[in-house]
Symmetry: C2
Subunit: 217 residues, 2 copies
DNA sequence: ATTGAATACTTTGCATGCAATGGATACAGT
DNA sequence: ACTGTATCCATTGCATGCAAAGTATTCAAT
């Protein structure tokens, strides 16, 4: 693999895993030392990460993004309509019989896995499964533009909500919303799928906002 | 201005203006010669343009994006929900009285300008005014995430629909849809604004698809 | 002690050199 | 003539050097 891609991938992992916390600053020299390469590929990786919305150019060097409460809400609003679109398109494909039955059962399994991990308290795993579930719907929408946009948003949101991983006890609500979404897609009800997805996302946003408020007390 | 930013801006203009046609390939050396700078800033500009979705990395060098009919439809679908969101948020702000009256009148003027330029056959000008109109709504939504995403999409769509600038005679329909959207925002009817914006975008998409089909005959 | 300025240093932006990759071309063999 | 191969060339990826910009530190003066 090219060094630039390696740097981009590795730094992305470090940021998403919270090794580099939101707000933390990085310099080219520092990152180059850590990654054992020269400044050139690091430099390009920095630019790419800025484009990905994971870091911001902060005068000298770069700092991990730290979405404030309102920026986070903006990201969730966009995510809401995008997931509404992907769910709608997936349901539409199902209605037209363009979707293989296996794809639908795979989706159901992902939802079950997510619910199980959540119930068992395996938070990190639950987050991964959850993202896979939503990601699969994006794939099933057969709209790569929407899927790519969502990837970016998920990354950004994950960085800024990492601390609130100590999830509230709303797994039942999440599971119910997932089931409603799933049922709408399986039945080919595009409009309902759209609404279910968007409302689910906005609910998640509201839950995070409550967390944030509580933290500040 | 930094050379990298200069290169990025200049190349973006050249692509959006159609000087570099969709599909055209560019090499670092070539662009560096045209822009009278070394390969380093050009290289970074290329990466940025790839992230902007204006060019794709094509093995050796880079080529101007050329969205196929279905990719274009995907872009329009995403644009549809995003403009639905911005219109909805703008209407919501209006309903809450968070919007200055001057902002609304400015918006109306932009719509009138666009309609006038279209009627007079000043195509390039009409496109500019049109984009400003939609862009203003995005600004009024007060959601920078959505606004930034839309900027990218507009760029991509503009590149790939440049040839079909010889617009069909649907200016009346466009004007009517703009008025409906405007009225919904002015009245603070969020849901209707959302629907009006999304339907307007999808109509534009359908119109372009008809153009494309006709061209192929 | 605090403020001001001057100096030194850290860090980035850009250019250039070098090695490696990938593709095109030419040549030979069947 | 066509295919396979080998060679050559264009172009990119990465490293390093140098200059500029901005920041911190230190020293002096009030």
């Amino acid at each position: 693999m090219q060094q630039t891609d390696a740097a981009r991938t590795r730094l992305r992992e470090l940021i998403l895993d919270g090794v580099y916390a939101p707000g933390q600053r990085l310099t080219e020299l520092e990152a180059a030392a850590v990654l054992a390469m020269s400044r050139t590929p690091v430099r390009e990786a920095f630019r790419a990460l800025v484009a990905d919305g994971l870091v911001r150019s902060a005068g000298r060097g770069v700092s991990v993004v730290e979405l404030g409460p309102q920026a986070l809400r903006h990201a969730y609003q966009v995510r809401g309509v995008l997931e509404g679109l992907t769910a709608e398109l997936a349901a539409e494909r199902q209605r037209r019989g363009e979707m293989a039955p296996a794809e639908l059962t795979a989706l159901e399994r992902l939802a079950a896995d997510a619910q199980e991990a959540t119930a068992a308290g395996r938070l990190a795993e639950a987050v991964r499964h959850n993202r896979r579930f939503h990601g699969r719907i994006a794939t099933l929408s057969a709209n790569p533009v929407a899927a790519a946009s969502l990837e970016r948003l998920w990354d950004q949101i994950q960085v800024s909500t990492r601390r609130s991983l100590a999830a509230p006890e709303r797994p039942d609500q999440v599971a119910a919303q997932h089931r409603r979404l799933l049922a709408a897609i399986a039945a080919g009800r595009a409009e309902e799928a759209h609404a279910a997805a968007r409302e689910h996302v906005m609910d998640t946003c509201a839950a995070h906002e409550r967390d944030g408020t509580e933290e500040e007390r």
